[in-house]
């Protein structure tokens, strides 16, 4: 159809024929997956596209959370030089869509049946105004415990089912002279752990109202106070040097057996894999106690920009390849996350991955799949960062009581809205 149209226009003008008949067989991709495992995972996609004859123009901008990449993207878009696609997170996609620079993938989405296979909670971020503007690559979930099995066996611990169990387990580790809880004292890590604590303390309904709907009644409720108290309890189990530590160093403490457990998203599994550890024998993955059945997620997406017509075919191919079952499986096995569509077979995944896939499916069907506020999927960045400030100030003692923390949380979120 499109081709016919193009040829029609081309016949009108010989010059246009030269320019249009040949599609640009290249995708330009901005991303921050520059570390070894991530780059290898992305290579899978690169090869997929190479088989179809599309060249890959890499625009890597290093820097973990993608801050540098987002600054680069802002500059590219402001200059009118849109990449074919860019790795993006949650609200960023919507911001750019609102600014009217995103492309339209609806045609591809309909053909591939994304409406049915991609969880509805994710579509909130990949669909804007009825149009598909981004292709989700994976789903990370945040409410996990990562436990060193040797230490667990030594202290005779079992899977904690409730928050009190968890505290008892940490006590056991402390008595055995191991650091009970490995935590990196950076605001996003503390807030990521607090996401799980809130879900565990208040339950799924409470989490949704407080952290996705930002309902003030819930934010200042006693349950939220209790959540802060529970967080304070957990923080008593960290080592004195936790402040400022990077998340992967905290994971390394668990890998080496210096610490029993880390509360972290499933990207931590990548570190275990890199250290050649096997789930079940070397380490254990449990859902954060009291959050089984719910998934607090964040997701990497490839935002698709409104590129010139001669690049649209390459863009569609990229989008199709990104959400193809083979890529979803191959990529997420390496990355530690789970596929962004619920119909991908879990045969290649390890035990934790299989559990992750099953949990995602169940949570999607049961309506307990929630965006992580700490990871920017619960509310826009201004609110999410205000939240991280409050949690971090509470952990480090600038905010002294849970009463004060709740008051601060309400006013900070109100201020940032």
């Amino acid at each position: 159809m499109l081709r016919k149209l193009l040829i029609g226009t081309a016949l009108g003008s010989g010059l246009a024929f030269a320019a249009h008949a040949q599609d640009v067989k290249e995708v330009e991709m901005l991303h921050w997956w520059t570390s070894g495992g991530e780059a290898a995972a992305l290579n899978v996609l690169k090869e997929d596209l190479a088989k179809q004859g599309f060249a890959w123009k890499d625009v890597p901008v290093a820097g973990g959370g993608g801050d540098a990449a987002m600054t680069a993207l802002k500059a590219m878009v402001a200059a009118g030089n849109y990449p074919t696609a860019s790795q993006m997170l949650g609200y960023t996609v919507l911001d750019y869509a609102e600014a009217g620079v995103m492309g339209d993938l609806t045609e591809t989405a309909v053909k591939e049946g994304w409406d049915k296979s991609v969880p509805a909670a994710l579509q909130k971020f990949s669909v804007y105004d009825g149009k598909w503007v981004a292709a989700p690559v994976n789903v990370h979930s945040v409410n996990w415990l990562w436990i060193n099995k040797a230490v667990m066996d030594k202290i005779g611990g079992t899977e904690p089912k409730t928050f009190d169990d968890f505290v008892a387990l940490l006590d056991k580790a402390k008595a055995a002279g191991v650091i009970p809880l490995a935590l990196g004292g950076q605001n996003w890590q503390e807030a990521t752990m607090f996401d799980s604590v809130v879900l565990s303390t208040g339950g799924p309904e409470f989490y949704k109202k407080a952290f996705n709907d930002l309902d003030e009644e819930q934010l200042k409720s006693d349950t939220m106070k209790k959540s802060f108290d529970n967080l304070a309890k957990l923080v008593t189990y960290v080592d004195p040097n936790f402040s400022g530590r990077d998340w992967n160093l905290a994971t390394a403490m668990v890998i080496k057996g210096d610490a029993l457990v880390q509360v972290m998203g499933d990207w931590a599994k990548g570190e275990f894999n890199a250290a050649k550890k096997t789930p079940g024998t070397d380490f254990l993955c449990y859902r954060f106690p009291g959050t089984d059945g719910s998934v607090v997620y964040n997701s990497d997406m490839f935002g698709m920009f409104d590129v010139p017509d001669d690049r649209k075919a390459a863009q569609a191919a990229l989008a199709t390849a990104t959400l193809s079952k083979s890529f979803q499986s191959a990529f997420n096995v390496v990355k530690g996350s789970v596929p962004a569509r619920t119909d991908v077979p879990d045969t290649d995944f390890d035990a934790c991955g299989k559990k992750g896939i099953a949990d995602l499916k169940a949570a999607n069907e049961g309506g307990t799949l929630f965006g992580s506020l700490a990871q920017g999927y619960g509310a826009p960045p201004a609110v999410a960062n205000a939240y991280k400030d409050v949690v971090s100030k509470f952990v480090h003692g600038q905010i002294k009581t849970s009463d004060e923390a709740v008051t601060q949380l309400v006013s900070a979120i109100e201020d940032a809205k």
Binding site: D67, D95, P240, N241, G244, N385, S392, Q398, A416
Partner: protein, 319 residues
């Protein structure tokens, strides 16, 4: 061919001698201006133009992208409110108090230490040529390298404290970098380590420029060494103090990278400086208006300090 060229060229000096020469001399007069024009234009647009643009943005409600409708001074009102939120400290309150602590200590210690080292090195000691670069080299490092090196050195589980514990001094305790109340002082330590050698070199150059006759005269008059420095040398170094102050002041204000590399913001954001605040709000939190407003306030603060100082120092020169 050549004849044609000659006949063509010849008349010009005769008929147009004056215009040609004046053309040339006019061109020569204008040459510095022409050469400077591009950099002048670039400065006007990219420094002063963008200052104005930032001021403009601070009165809009720009979020992720700039928006151009003026909506009032909400950004300033929020900053003003945050200025007085000290318990628990707002990020802005932390940033500006840290700027005060860091700016004062960094400039003062660097000047004092730099002057002291320069005076010591100026005592005609042996091996000065070797000692001088040792003090100067830290300046060759970027803030990122300084920050990371000091981060490891000051980390209680990794650096100084750990090492001394291993050597047997187990009661030694130094965890400032992990302490919300002291973390800003570790930034001062790292910053001073980096810049004081450079300031020393500036003072050393100043000391070498002082006329030896004055010193001798003072010594003949019976001045002690202390009096000599207190009454004669240090007053003569006044222009060096000015240059050093300007260099240090701008280093202090832009030391965003040192804070990030050394503390990654500190426990609960307790090591933030206004530059961290500005970057965080503009680029991470998508509150461009607030970020711009904080940048404007930073600029005004600097202007309020530097301009009177420059004025008082430079005014005396023509006399």
């Amino acid at each position: 061919m050549s004849t044609v060229a000659e006949t063509n060229i010849k008349p010009t000096p005769e008929r147009g001698a004056r215009p040609g020469a004046s053309m040339r001399s006019r061109l020569q007069d204008a040459l510095p201006k022409i050469v400077l024009a591009p950099s002048f234009a670039i400065t006007v647009v990219f420094v002063y133009g963008f200052i104005l643009w930032t001021v403009y943005l601070s009165f809009t409600n720009s979020k992720t992208f700039p928006s151009y409708a003026i909506t009032g001074s909400r950004a300033y009102q929020r900053l003003w409110r945050w200025t007085f939120e000290s318990d628990p400290p707002s990020s802005w309150y932390t940033s500006i108090t840290n700027m005060g602590i860091f700016g004062f200590l960094y400039i003062f210690i660097c000047l004092a230490l730099g002057l002291f080292l320069a005076i010591l090195l100026d005592q005609k000691i042996r091996g000065e040529g070797m000692l001088r670069p040792i003090y100067l080299y830290p300046m060759a490092l970027s803030f990122i390298v300084t920050g990371v090196a000091w981060k490891w050195f000051l980390d209680p589980g990794l650096g100084l404290e750990q090492t001394l514990h291993q050597w047997g001094w187990t009661s030694f305790h130094f965890d400032w970098i992990k302490n919300k109340d002291f973390v800003i002082y570790t930034v001062v330590i790292a910053g001073v380590w980096q810049a004081s050698g450079f300031i020393m070199a500036m003072f050393l150059a100043g000391l070498r420029g002082i006329d030896g006759e004055i010193m001798k005269a003072a010594q003949i008059d019976g001045a002690t060494t202390f009096q000599l420095y207190r009454r004669i040398v240090i007053p003569l170094l006044r222009p060096v103090f000015l240059s050093a102050f300007i260099v240090l002041a701008h280093l202090a204000i832009k030391s965003y990278d040192l804070v990030v590399a050394l503390t990654s913001g500190g426990p609960g954001g307790s090591a933030w400086l206004p530059s961290n605040f500005m970057y965080e709000y503009t680029f991470k939190r998508n509150e461009m208006a607030v970020g711009s407003a904080s940048a404007v306030i930073m600029l005004m603060t600097i202007t309020a300090i530097i301009v009177p100082y420059l004025y008082s120092e430079l005014r005396e020169k023509p006399r």
